[in-house]
Symmetry: C2
Subunit: 517 residues, 2 copies
């Protein structure tokens, strides 16, 4: 055991994970050597059609064997049919001990629990939202889940930490030679940002589509020369689960107040000038912050340069109204975003590598001024936890949390002080996702709490005069008083989750929950 730079006790080696490289600081680790490369193959014109008759045929053709690593992406979110279908086929073919390397799993993937129990799936590296996270937390898997951020995942692949044997790409639109797009089709999802790394580095790439169009399609997200096989299925997913009809600004007065404080902080900051860039995601508070900022931008005549990240209709409106010049989209959250990316040349599809990889020539997060994030917990050190819930269960992925926090000039975590009776600002978070050194401010209904190292922001807020300030100690004390004493999470020694910082070091671990008596 050794204490890492986030103050966490981490063993030097973890069964099922291997040697631990402890977190050394947000920007401390520097890579050596060269990027990995996918398998070389010679393909000539003797076959002009990469279609195979079904997923089973593609699995056989891909050479997928027991013990290998298979990857998936989550643009189909809770509507996805492809992961379950492929895993069922692997099970039927007698393939076992697979490492699953999805970008994220959702409630719809609950079915995989059977394949975990039967040994078809041996390890998971990726976000486990919901039921599989619960299973893992209760000790239901032998190997710990490895959590990586949207930027940490392509970094791990490019650096050779993870080798993908077969990548399965759910493609809303495809042609027979493997050009892929998310722009059209019944399962249209917009950006295919998370799939680029998998298509580029996997030994074999299988596209699964329900919307085959004549060669060549346009636009093309993933080009033909990275794709080996194409399989047509009846449906890749349920459109209702793929895109939400609308994402909504919060109407809760408490959350609106938080949003207003966050907006005032941004307006007071030196970043609220022409060319401002921001990421706000799809939550109720961030969307409300966007709405407040929009009014402020109009009032002050300020125009933004770009909106980043998971894109919603609110951002599309900003683009249409000329309040931002461009959108850079790694994941399109709603129908408006899906429509916009297919038709507006200023709505740019970016890969996760482009978005957030700390080990390339410069990711988009590096150009970000302001990001509004959430967290399940935040502590006196400004460490943020987004992975575990108050009961210690590992229910959420990292997403772009670490990456945007590390890249943005102003990283704001906006959330109520308590959720129900549970304090969100505490002495020490149960699990660290993002270290305090890259968090600049917490905004609650009690005002703005600045990281003490941001004396520049303190001065800016004081000068603005309309930003209520509250210290982190006051906030913790208040939360304690309101919530009363909390029982510590009852946990076993056994590690069930490894939280990597975006550079591949381990920032924290998650331990198995003690069974309730």
């Amino acid at each position: 055991m050794a204490v890492n730079a986030a103050g966490r006790d981490i063993p030097s080696s973890i069964p099922g994970y291997g040697e631990v490289r402890p977190y050394q600081g947000a920007f401390a680790r520097v890579p050596e050597g060269f990027r990995a490369g996918g398998r070389l193959k010679a393909v000539n014109g003797s076959c002009r059609d990469k279609r195979l008759k079904d997923i089973e045929a593609a699995i056989v053709a891909s050479g997928l064997k027991s013990g290998m690593t298979v990857s998936f992406h989550h643009h189909l979110r809770n509507g996805d049919y492809v992961v379950n279908r492929v895993m069922d086929a692997c099970a039927a073919l007698g393939i076992r001990d697979l490492t699953l390397f999805p970008t994220a799993l959702f409630g719809v993937h609950k079915k995989l629990i059977d394949h975990i129990k039967s040994g078809v799936i041996r390890r998971i590296m990726g976000s486990v939202n919901g039921p599989i996270g619960q299973l893992v937390s209760e000790g239901g898997m032998d190997a710990p889940v490895v959590l990586r951020s949207h930027g940490g995942r392509p970094r791990a692949v490019a650096a050779g930490d993870v080798h993908i044997d077969v990548a399965f790409v759910a493609a809303p639109c495809a042609d027979r030679y493997g050009n892929l797009s998310g722009a059209e089709g019944p399962g249209a999802c917009g950006s295919l940002g998370y799939t680029f790394t998998d298509a580029q580095y996997a030994d074999c790439v299988v596209a699964v589509t329900d919307h085959l169009r004549p060669y060549p399609i346009a636009p093309i997200s993933i080009p033909q020369y990275l794709v080996d096989y194409v399989v047509e299925v009846d449906s890749i997913g349920d459109p209702a689960g793929i895109v939400s009809g609308t994402t909504r600004v919060t109407r809760d007065p408490l959350r609106l107040l938080i949003s207003q404080y966050a907006s005032r902080l941004i307006e007071a900051s030196p970043y609220f000038v022409d060319g401002i860039s921001f990421q706000t995601g799809a939550g109720g508070i961030p969307l409300a912050v966007t709405a407040f900022m929009k009014e402020a931008m109009k009032k002050r005549g300020i125009k933004g340069s770009f909106g980043l990240g998971g894109i919603t209709g609110y951002f599309v409106d900003l683009l249409k109204e000329g309040l931002v010049e461009k959108l850079m989209d790694v994941q399109s959250f709603d129908l408006e975003a899906v429509k916009s990316i297919a038709t507006n040349p200023n709505h740019i599809e970016i890969s996760a590598d482009w978005y957030a990889n700390p080990w390339n020539g410069g990711a988009a997060v590096n150009m970000l001024d302001v990001v509004i994030l959430g967290a399940t917990e935040l502590d006196r050190n400004f460490h943020a936890n987004v992975n575990t819930e108050a009961d210690g269960a590992l229910l959420h992925g990292i997403g772009g949390h670490q990456d945007t926090a590390a890249g943005a000039k102003l990283t704001i975590i906006a959330q109520p002080l308590l959720r129900g009776r549970i304090p969100c600002v505490v002495d020490k978070v149960h699990s660290v996702t993002t270290p305090g050194e890259v968090v600049d401010a917490v905004v609650t209904e009690y005002g703005v709490t600045l990281n003490p190292r941001r004396t520049d922001l303190l001065e800016a807020c004081q000068a603005a005069g309309n930003v209520p300030l509250v210290s982190v100690d006051e906030l913790v004390d208040r939360a304690h008083r309101m919530a009363g004493p909390m029982d510590p999470v009852a946990q076993e020694e056994r590690i069930v989750g490894v939280v990597e910082w975006r550079d591949g070091t381990v920032i924290d671990v998650v331990r198995q929950l003690k069974q309730k008596a």
Copy 2:
């Protein structure tokens, strides 16, 4: 010495090139292992502007040292200012013994001869059109020039045969964080197809631009995360040399007759159906074939799927008129093509890797039905030579000749029987670029000459009834009679050029010309 599969005597090793892997057949070589990868680097948000003050500063920052390999692309063609400028700077900085790895050099690069003579440039791997080719042919360089096709070049890089230390990308449009595009600016050149491989695999990428726009630009060809430095200069090139105002259909009656015969062959072939795809390039005869085909397509109500390769205004018209659904563009030849690719989503920019690399998951040439090519010579074995002129001088690159011939179902070489008094169809070509096994037909003013292995095409032509047929032996004999006896090329033993087949094997060599008495 050993005879390779194209019947050429090739030494087993060549000074300045190394071990020779002899050509084994068009599709014989199968790769093993993995693609190379560029250097890993950690870049965070502490620098949000990759601009350096000049090319000298970028060379220093790039770590470029004597003996390294630097790459360039030729989208600026004979208007390019960047190659000369960078080489002047290298010379001024005392850097020597460089390997130059351009996609192609032109007349405008004649200045480099000084740097060759002074030892700044020690080797060239790339097409040497014109004066540098002449210098090389006369023995002016120590190491032989290595010629690769548009597909062979990315293959060589991906397979690790060539490692690029620093890539210089002339960018008609760029932003301060290195997103690059050819779509706009005074040096707009349309597609940046040849630059993708260099940007992806080089250790360091330097963009040179004369049109800096706010971050982020759109559209983006080369993304920021592959680019290390950006340098602003007054001008990257002379627009008049970058794009031709118009490319022209031939008006010469003899060439029109050839074009008409070629068109009849295509119409008679089984490929002249809905969905036909073709590449015709920018020469006078191919453009005339396009014009004839266009009429025939209209008359027969046929619609094509895509036009490929270097794109001209003639292809843009086909797209606009709905006679092809898509254009796949690795190089935009004229102003109409440059305009179209910037605005029409069905005009798709493709990389050279996508276009033609034989060692990826499937290049665009593999989907090609018909290609019309030229050649300086063709022989009884249907071997084509595009590299050397009748006097044996190495004046031309391979371009996509090998790749499209290998990929297309119908490869036509269309040319007059004689150029001046020089026969173009001979007993044995001076140098083999493309082997007869991937050439299907030669079309001259005397009719269509089919490769005997294409009995299917013979039957189709006979059925059509309007295609004059002439055997290759008749053609050679006729050319002999017309031209009279030719002096053989007087050459030394020393090898000055190595012609690689697209898979990295050596199909032929070019020897130094004997000095005229």
